[in-house]
């Protein structure tokens, strides 16, 4: 295995780990309610000053 292949595999592995971290964080119990919050807040966005 040459250095280019090792580099290529390394980048792939890093990308996979980043993706796995995103999945774990998104579906963590602590993040559950917060992760769904935007879908409720966007329903009432007609006025910029309404919080």
């Amino acid at each position: 295995m040459d250095s280019a292949s090792i580099y290529y595999l390394g980048v792939t592995l890093i990308l996979f780990l980043i993706f796995a971290a995103i999945v774990v964080r998104t579906y963590s119990k602590r993040h559950a309610a917060r992760g769904e919050e935007p879908k409720f807040r966007m329903m009432d966005d007609d006025y910029p000053n309404h919080q």
Binding site: L15, F19, I22, V23, T26, Y27, A32, R34, G35, E36, E37, P38, K39, F40, R41, M42, M43, D45, D46, Y47, P48, N49, H50, Q51
Partner: protein
């Protein structure tokens, strides 16, 4: 600026109207070139030939209608999801002018035969340079609006919008790297198989970053707005987004199966294309599950009909696409009429249906009125659906027949049919395709008439109120 709501919406009106103009041009030229294929005597050299008009059709459709309306809705959506007004309405006005100049220049230069011979990247370097300026203006305005947002968390549509801005910039700059030899001619900075690889990395990801991520941003925003019910799962949307982003950029080489690019590149593209079914269908299921308890709205709410049929065509498209990326299937249908059938299910079915819904939703709100006629909107829906289905199904059948004929061999291994014999058999299908195009055009005209009367009625109302 719309003072009542604090959002810069006048510019949205401008982009919507101009995108509809370019959409009409795209479909008119598309219908004409479909007749040119069915009746070759309709080719009038040098300007009105299929070779000159086809890139005008695709550029007007993808960049004029597609990008034009994406610009409108990115500005509309971003302001609302960030609860802040556009960073620079003045810059957006300049962007609208430049957008129209670029599309007009594209039409003129392509008609004159100035063409880089790269599909979806045909524009010669002076026009392509203007595209870069246009995109930078657009991206800066949207990103700065997101930076000054008053919402801490970003709704899924904003992620898709950001991906589009970054993705298109990277793809366009890399694939348009050229060496100019005159004002009207340049040569690609890459050579041979590398050039082809870069071209299809760009070409297929134009599908990703122009025909997938923007309509998804728009779909995720307007489906809950139309139904009055939030999407099923925001977190599923986030995971689908990231998996789509991680996978899509590897798939371009599936356009080069059996070509002289490294075998592992082809296999990688094939594998990632098949894996893309997962994030694509996550979005489809998110749409379907959002309709739980709301399916009656398919009958009662014309906006929902456009959106759900749109996401359904996205689902079908993202099953058909990965199938086509498999070597054996690709060997059968590549270079046949199957491919335009596939492409038009995506553009006419998925992208345009979602955009029609977004325009129907926003125009009455921007002009403080009601849509002129829901009945006409329903007529529009059925006409474009019928036209598109006739087009796509006809081309799929034509493609299978063409592929079977091209692959037929005699016992001694020689070809059973000559190439011209396969073409002669396709004429009935080409007539049907032209008919499908005419029906789609009729639907589009009904849509434009409805929108025109909505806007005209709103202006009359406003004038009466002032008096």
């Amino acid at each position: 600026m719309n003072q009542q709501e604090g959002y810069a919406d006048d510019i949205v009106k401008g982009f919507v109207i101009w995108s509809m103009v370019w959409g009409l041009v795209a479909v008119l030229v598309g219908v004409f070139i479909s007749f040119q294929i069915a009746f070759p005597q309709l080719n009038f050299p040098p300007y009105l030939t299929y070779g000159r008009l086809r890139p005008i059709h695709t550029n007007a459709g993808i960049f004029g209608w597609g990008i034009g309306s994406f610009m409108a809705f990115f500005i509309y959506i971003t302001q609302r999801l960030t609860r802040t007004s556009l960073w620079s309405p003045g810059l957006a006005k300049a962007q609208l002018w430049l957008f129209n100049v670029v599309i007009a220049l594209a039409a003129v230069t392509l008609a004159m035969g100035m063409n880089r011979s790269k599909e979806y990247a045909e524009l010669e370097w002076p026009v392509a340079s203007l595209v870069v300026v246009l995109w930078v203006i657009f991206a800066v305005n949207i990103v700065m609006t997101i930076v000054k947002r008053r919402e801490e968390q970003m709704y899924i549509s904003l992620w898709y919008i950001l991906a589009t801005l970054v993705g298109v910039a990277v793809l366009y700059l890399v694939n348009n790297a050229s060496i100019p030899v005159s004002l009207t001619k340049s040569y690609s900075a890459y050579a041979g198989a590398n050039d082809a690889n870069v071209q299809w990395w760009y070409g297929h990801n134009a599908v990703a970053m122009v025909l997938t991520t923007p309509p998804l941003a728009i779909f995720y925003y307007f489906l809950p707005k139309a139904t009055g019910v939030p999407i099923y799962s925001h977190r599923m949307g986030v995971i689908a987004f990231w998996s789509l982003i991680f996978m899509y950029l590897w798939t371009g080489a599936h356009h080069l199966l059996w070509a002289p690019v490294p075998d592992w590149v082809q296999t990688l593209a094939m594998a990632f294309s098949v894996m893309l079914i997962a994030p694509s269908w996550a979005a489809v299921f998110n749409g379907y599950f959002s309709m739980n308890g709301q399916w009656h709205q398919m009958r009662e709410n014309y906006l929902v009909k456009f959106l759900i049929f749109g996401i359904t065509f996205y689902g079908l498209q993202t099953l058909q696409g990965p199938s086509q990326s498999i070597r054996t299937f690709s060997a059968f249908i590549h270079f046949t009429d199957w491919v335009p059938g596939h492409v038009h299910m995506g553009t006419l079915g998925w992208v345009s249906l979602v955009l029609f819904a977004a325009i129907y939703y926003t125009i009455p709100r921007l002009y403080h009125t009601e849509i002129y006629s829901i009945g006409l909107a329903n007529v529009h829906f059925w006409l474009v659906l019928t036209g598109q289905l006739i087009f796509s199904i006809t081309m799929w059948i034509a493609g299978v027949q063409q592929a079977a004929m091209l692959n037929a061999t005699n016992p001694d291994g020689s070809l059973h049919y000559s190439f011209i014999e396969t073409l002669v058999e396709l004429y009935p299908y080409w007539h049907m395709r032209a008919l499908g195009g005419v029906i789609y055009l009729a639907g589009l005209l009904v849509f434009l008439y409805n929108i025109y009367l909505t806007i005209a009625g709103a202006k009359t109302q406003a004038a009466a109120q002032r008096a």
